[in-house]
C-alpha cells in the first residue's frame, strides 16, 4: 500500500497519521505539502490529518478546501481513490464537498478530548471491513467543532445507503443522530471526528484503531 498524508501549515496530527499507516500497515507514506498541485504517482490512499489547517479561526477547513492540493484530492477521489479524513480532515472533506453535511461547534461550546465509545454502523467499506457491524469500540476524540449536522432528508439518505460509518455510543457533542463518521457515495471516502491513529498501540491505552488501518491494508494492496 502507498499512502500520502496531506500537510497544511496548521496540521498537527500529520505525523501521527503517517506513523499509524506505516507501523500498522507497513505502507510507504509520503508527506505532501498543501501548496503542491499534484499527488505522488500510484497512491492508494490519501490521508487528511487532524489539526487546525489554516488556524481555522472562521470555518474549520474552509481555507484548506481551497488549497491547490485539495483540487488534486478531489480529482483523485473522483477517479475512485480512497481518502481518509480524520477530525480536521473530516471538516476539510465536507468543505470540499466530497462528503455531505457540516461540522459545527460542539453543543457545549467546549473543546472535548477523551476516549469515547463508538458503534460501528457498517462493516461494508474498505475502512471498516475489519470490524463487525454493531461492534462497540473505544477511540479518542479531540475537537471543538465535531457537531455533525445534516438535515432530515440527508440523514435518511445516508441511512438508506448505509453510509453512516460510526455513531457515538452516547451523545458527546450534539451531532445529529450521534453521527461520528460518514462515507461517500462510492464508499471510498471516509470522514470521522474520532482519531483512530491515537489508538493503535497498547501504550496508547487502547488499540481499537488498528482494525481500521488493517482493513485498509487488506483492501488496498499495491499493484
Amino acid at each position: 500500500m502507498r499512502a500520502a498524508v496531506i500537510v497544511f501549515p496548521g496540521s498537527n496530527c500529520d505525523r501521527d497519521m503517517a506513523v499509524a499507516l506505516r507501523e500498522v500497515t507497513g505502507a510507504e507514506t509520503a508527506m505532501v505539502w498543501h501548496g503542491d498541485s499534484g499527488l505522488p504517482d500510484n497512491i492508494d490512499i490519501v490521508g487528511i490529518p487532524g489539526g487546525f489547517s489554516f488556524g481555522d479561526y472562521l470555518r474549520c477547513g474552509a481555507i484548506a478546501a481551497n488549497s491547490p492540493i485539495c483540487r488534486a484530492v478531489v480529482d483523485f477521489a473522483a477517479k475512485g481513490g480512497a481518502v481518509l479524513g480524520v477530525c480536521n480532515g473530516f471538516q476539510v472533506l465536507t468543505e470540499t464537498g466530497l462528503l455531505p453535511g457540516a461540522l459545527m461547534r460542539n453543543a457545549n461550546l467546549k473543546f472535548i478530548c477523551k476516549p469515547v465509545e463508538l458503534v460501528v454502523e457498517t462493516a461494508d467499506s474498505l475502512f471498516t471491513s475489519g470490524y463487525e457491524k454493531g461492534q462497540r469500540i473505544e477511540i479518542p476524540v479531540a475537537h471543538h467543532d465535531g457537531n455533525y449536522r445534516a438535515d432530515a432528508e440527508l440523514r435518511a439518505q445516508l441511512e438508506a445507503e448505509d453510509r453512516i460509518a460510526f455513531r457515538y455510543g452516547t451523545d458527546i457533542n450534539g451531532a445529529d443522530d450521534r453521527i461520528a463518521g460518514v462515507l461517500s457515495e462510492n464508499r471510498r471516502v471516509l470522514g470521522l471526528m474520532p482519531h483512530p491513529e491515537r489508538a493503535v498501540d497498547p501504550l496508547h491505552g487502547g488499540t481499537d484503531g488498528v482494525a481500521m488501518f488493517r482493513s485498509l491494508a487488506a483492501s488496498l494492496v499495491s499493484a
Binding site: 498537527n12 496530527c13 489539526g51 467546549k110 473543546f111 478530548c113 479531540a142 501504550l203
Partner: protein, 719 residues
C-alpha cells in the same frame, strides 16, 4: 511626534523609583529620552531584572551530571541519554490572565512554548498550574472558564499535549489568580541553540508576526500590585495567534537544521528591547536596530511603542549572512514576515534609529549588568500556632467534604478541554499523578508533574518549600520514573514587605535543600512578585514543575488497581493533621504547622519503590487528603471499591510525607513487605481494592455515590 518631557510623574508611571532613576542618569550621564526611559523601565522592572529575588535564586542547586544547561537561557536543558535532551521551563502569566483570562492564559502558553522551541527543541508536553479565588467569588467562574479555554485554545491549535497540571481555589487568590504554564521539548543534546550573538556586522533578523501596540508596558504592569484601576490595564494584555506560533516553530526548527542560525531569542516580556539586549549582552556585542524595517500592523507607531510592544509570536535571530537565501526560502514556505532590522556592532552600545533619528543610544551591557539588585529586608515567618482540638469526624463525611470540593474533585472538566493526546505519544493521561509521554521513536518515556501546597508554605515556608519538591519527586516516582530536574515558578506577594520577603527566603531555602537532597537541580524558572490586590497577598505559591525519565515506557507504573489487589502503605502511618485538606475543606480551618519533610526518608522510600516496581500494579503518592483520598482516587480510577482498615482520623487523613499507596497482588505484597522489612522501610497492608463500597475503618458508603460526587462536583460548581 514630539516625545513627552521626562517628569517625576512620568518616571513613577514607568515603575522606576527615584533612586533607580538617579542611577540611570548617572550611567548615561544625561537625562534619558522618552524611548530610553521606556527601555530602562522594561529592563529594570522586577519581571525582567529579578532585582528582589536574584540574591536568593543564586543559592539554589542548579548543577548535576544530567544538567546540560541550567538557568539563564530561555529554558533548562537536561540529558536523557542516547544523545537526546529534554528542554523545559515554567513561567507565570498571572497578571494578564486576571485582566483578560482567555488571552492572558493563551499567551502564557504561547510564551512558554516559544521559550522551548527557541532552544531548538520541539515541544512535546505542556502542563498548567492554576490558582483561583474561592468558588463563590463573583469573578472566579468567569476566570476559570476564560483561563481554561485560553490554555486549551492555544495549546490545542499549536499541537502540544497538555498532560498535567493543578487547579486550586482559595480566597487568597480572589484578587490575583495564578496561571503557571509549563512546556517541555525534545532536542538532540548537541544541537541546542542559545541566545548569545557572535560576530560583528552580522544581520539581526526579525521573524514572525507583525508588531502592534498590544502589550506595551506589560512587563511593567506585571511588576505592580493591582488596585481598582485594574480594568484600565486591559490594553496592556497581548493577543495570541497559535496558528502563527505553530508556523513560527516549524520555520525555526527547519531553519536551525540548515546551519543558518547563529543565535536566537524569542520576544517575550518587553519584546524587542529584552531580546536584543539579551543577545548583545551574552555575546559581549552592541546592537543597532533600524525600526523603520520592523514589520508593523499599525500606523504611526513610535520608537517607544515598538521597543516595548509585547506582540506575540515574534523571534529575533542573528543569521549567518551566507545563508540568507536558505533562510528566506524557509520563511516564505511558512508565509512568515521577516526582515533584517539591524546588525551587531563592536561597541558596547544599544542604538535605536527610527525615521532617520537616533531615538536611543545606551550602553548595552549596563542595561542588565547595572540593573538594581536589592537585599530586601525580611523577617522569618513565626512558627504556626498548634492545631486546636478537633471534633469527632465521621470518615465518610470527611471523604465527602474532600471529593465534593473542586479542590479535590476530579478535574476532568478542565483536562478534557485540553488535547492531551496529540502527537500520539501520551502514555499516561492526566487524572491521577504525573502525565507521561513516550520519547518519539524510542522506548523511553518522560513523566511530568507540577506540585505545591500553598497552605503549607503559608504556615511554614521552609517545610512547605521542601514539601513541594518532595511531592514532585513522589509523583514522578509513583509513575516509575527517575526524577531528573526541576523548574520553579515562584509566586509571592509584595517583596517590599518583610513578611512576604521572609516567605520567599524560607521557601527558597526549603526548595534548595530538597532539590539538592533528591538530586533534582533547578534548571529554569520564573519569579512572579507583587501578587497582591489592595494590600492582600496570595498564599505563597512556589510551583514546582519536575521531569522524570523511564528508560522503557513499558515500566510505567499505572494508577488503576485490579479488583482484589491489596492496598499497601509504603511509609509510616499518618499522624499529622495540621494544615490538612480535611480540616480546611470540612471545618474551614487552616491551623497548625505544615508536615515536616524527612528528605532522607523521601529518597529511601522513592528508591525502594523504583527498584521494586515489578511488584506493584498501581501506585500513587500520598499528598493532601492523606491515605483516604489517595485510596479513593485509585479506586475511582479503576471503578472499583476499596476497604481500608485504619480507623483514626490521623491514620486516614493525616498528611505525613514520604508515603505512597500501592496496589499489589497478595503474593507481590508479601514479597514487597519482606523486602521493605529488610531495608527498615515501613510498609503495611492497610486494605484491599474491590467490591462496590468505600469503607474507611468501618464507616461505609456506596462507591457509586462517592464516584458521582467526585466526577460531578467540579462541573456542578463551576461548569
Amino acid at each position: 511626534m514630539n516625545e513627552p518631557e521626562i517628569t517625576p510623574d512620568l518616571i513613577a508611571a514607568h515603575g522606576l523609583k527615584p533612586d533607580e532613576y538617579d542611577r540611570l542618569v548617572e550611567i548615561i550621564g544625561r537625562v534619558p529620552s522618552f524611548t530610553e526611559l521606556g527601555i530602562f523601565s522594561a529592563m529594570w522592572n522586577e519581571h525582567c531584572s529579578y532585582k528582589s529575588s536574584k540574591k536568593w535564586l543564586r543559592t539554589l542547586p542548579t548543577t548535576g551530571e544530567q544538567v546540560i544547561c541550567g538557568p539563564g537561557e530561555n529554558a533548562g536543558v537536561v540529558d536523557i541519554g542516547d544523545g537526546q535532551a529534554v528542554v523545559f521551563k515554567m513561567e507565570s502569566h498571572n497578571h494578564p490572565s486576571y485582566i483578560e483570562p482567555y488571552q492572558g492564559a493563551a499567551t502564557g502558553v504561547g510564551g512558554i512554548l516559544r521559550d522551548v522551541f527557541t532552544m531548538g527543541a520541539r515541544p512535546v508536553a505542556a502542563m498548567n498550574a492554576l490558582s483561583f479565588g474561592e468558588v463563590g467569588h463573583p469573578k472566579t467562574r468567569q476566570l476559570v472558564h476564560g483561563v481554561v479555554e485560553g490554555v486549551g485554545g492555544y495549546g490545542n491549535c499549536f499541537g502540544v499535549p497538555t498532560v498535567g497540571g493543578e487547579v486550586r481555589f482559595h480566597p487568597a487568590y480572589n484578587g490575583n489568580c495564578l496561571v503557571n504554564a509549563f512546556a517541555a521539548g525534545l532536542a538532540d543534546a548537541d544541537k541546542i541553540f542559545y541566545s548569545a550573538a557572535s560576530g560583528v556586522g552580522m544581520p539581526v533578523v526579525y521573524l514572525g508576526a507583525k508588531t502592534g501596540r498590544d502589550g506595551v508596558g506589560g512587563a511593567t504592569m506585571a511588576s505592580a500590585e493591582f488596585d481598582d484601576t485594574i480594568e484600565e490595564k486591559r490594553p496592556t494584555v497581548q493577543v495570541g495567534d497559535p496558528f502563527t506560533e505553530k508556523r513560527l516553530m516549524e520555520a525555526c526548527l527547519e531553519l536551525m537544521q540548515t546551519g543558518a542560525v547563529i543565535s536566537i531569542q524569542d520576544m517575550g516580556a518587553a519584546g524587542l528591547t529584552c531580546s536584543a539586549v539579551e543577545m548583545g549582552d551574552k555575546g559581549r556585542l552592541g546592537i543597532r536596530l533600524d525600526l523603520d524595517k520592523v514589520p508593523v500592523r499599525e500606523e504611526h507607531m513610535t520608537a517607544y511603542e515598538m521597543m516595548l510592544s509585547e506582540s506575540q509570536e515574534r523571534m529575533l535571530m542573528v543569521l549567518n549572512p551566507e545563508k540568507e537565501d536558505v533562510a528566506k526560502a524557509v520563511f516564505d514556505k511558512w508565509e512568515l514576515d521577516f526582515a533584517i532590522v539591524g546588525e551587531t556592532i563592536p561597541e558596547d552600545r544599544f542604538v535605536i534609529v527610527h525615521g532617520g533619528a537616533v531615538k536611543a543610544d545606551l550602553p548595552l551591557s549596563k542595561l542588565s549588568s547595572e540593573a538594581p539588585e536589592y537585599d530586601r529586608p525580611w523577617v522569618e515567618t513565626p512558627p504556626a500556632a498548634p492545631l486546636g482540638e478537633l471534633p469527632q469526624i465521621d470518615a465518610i463525611e470527611g471523604l465527602r467534604a474532600l471529593v465534593g470540593s473542586p479542590n479535590h474533585a476530579s478535574k476532568s472538566w478542565v483536562y478534557e478541554q485540553y488535547d492531551h493526546m496529540v502527537m500520539a505519544d501520551t502514555v499516561r493521561r492526566p487524572g491521577l499523578g504525573g502525565g507521561a509521554i513516550r520519547v518519539h521513536g524510542t522506548k523511553k518515556a518522560l513523566v511530568f508533574t507540577s506540585d505545591v501546597t500553598p497552605r503549607y508554605v503559608q504556615a511554614n515556608p521552609y517545610e512547605g518549600g521542601k514539601q513541594a519538591v518532595a511531592e514532585a519527586y513522589r509523583n514522578l516516582t509513583a509513575a516509575g520514573a527517575k526524577p531528573l530536574a526541576t523548574t520553579d515558578n515562584l509566586n509571592f506577594g509584595n517583596p517590599e514587605k518583610p513578611e512576604i520577603m521572609g516567605q520567599f527566603v524560607g521557601a527558597l531555602k526549603g526548595i534548595g535543600e530538597a532539590c539538592a537532597a533528591l538530586d533534582m537541580p533547578i534548571v529554569s524558572g520564573n519569579v512572579s512578585l507583587y501578587n497582591e490586590t489592595d494590600g492582600k497577598a496570595i498564599l505563597p505559591t512556589p510551583t514546582i514543575g519536575a521531569v522524570g525519565l523511564l528508560k522503557n515506557a513499558k515500566n510505567l507504573i499505572g494508577s488503576r488497581p485490579e479488583e482484589g489487589d491489596l492496598a499497601v502503605l509504603l511509609g509510616a502511618p499518618g499522624t499529622h493533621l495540621g494544615q490538612s485538606a480535611l480540616i480546611w475543606e470540612l471545618l474551614g480551618r487552616a491551623e497548625g504547622d505544615a508536615p515536616a519533610v524527612d528528605l532522607k526518608a523521601e529518597r529511601r522510600h522513592g528508591v525502594f519503590l523504583r527498584n521494586n516496581r515489578k511488584l506493584v500494579n498501581a501506585a500513587t503518592d500520598l499528598g493532601d487528603g492523606g491515605l483516604a483520598l489517595a485510596a479513593f482516587e485509585m479506586a475511582a480510577a479503576a471503578g472499583t471499591g476499596v476497604t481500608l482498615e485504619p480507623a483514626t482520623t490521623e491514620e486516614l487523613f493525616g498528611e505525613d510525607q514520604a508515603r505512597y499507596l500501592l496496589a499489589c497482588s497478595f503474593d507481590e505484597a508479601e514479597e514487597l513487605l519482606v523486602l521493605a522489612g529488610g531495608k527498615g522501610i515501613p510498609a503495611t497492608v492497610v486494605g484491599r481494592f474491590g467490591g462496590d463500597t468505600v469503607s474507611l475503618g468501618g464507616a461505609t458508603a456506596p462507591l457509586a455515590d462517592l464516584l458521582a460526587l467526585y466526577r460531578d462536583s467540579f462541573a456542578a460548581t463551576l461548569g
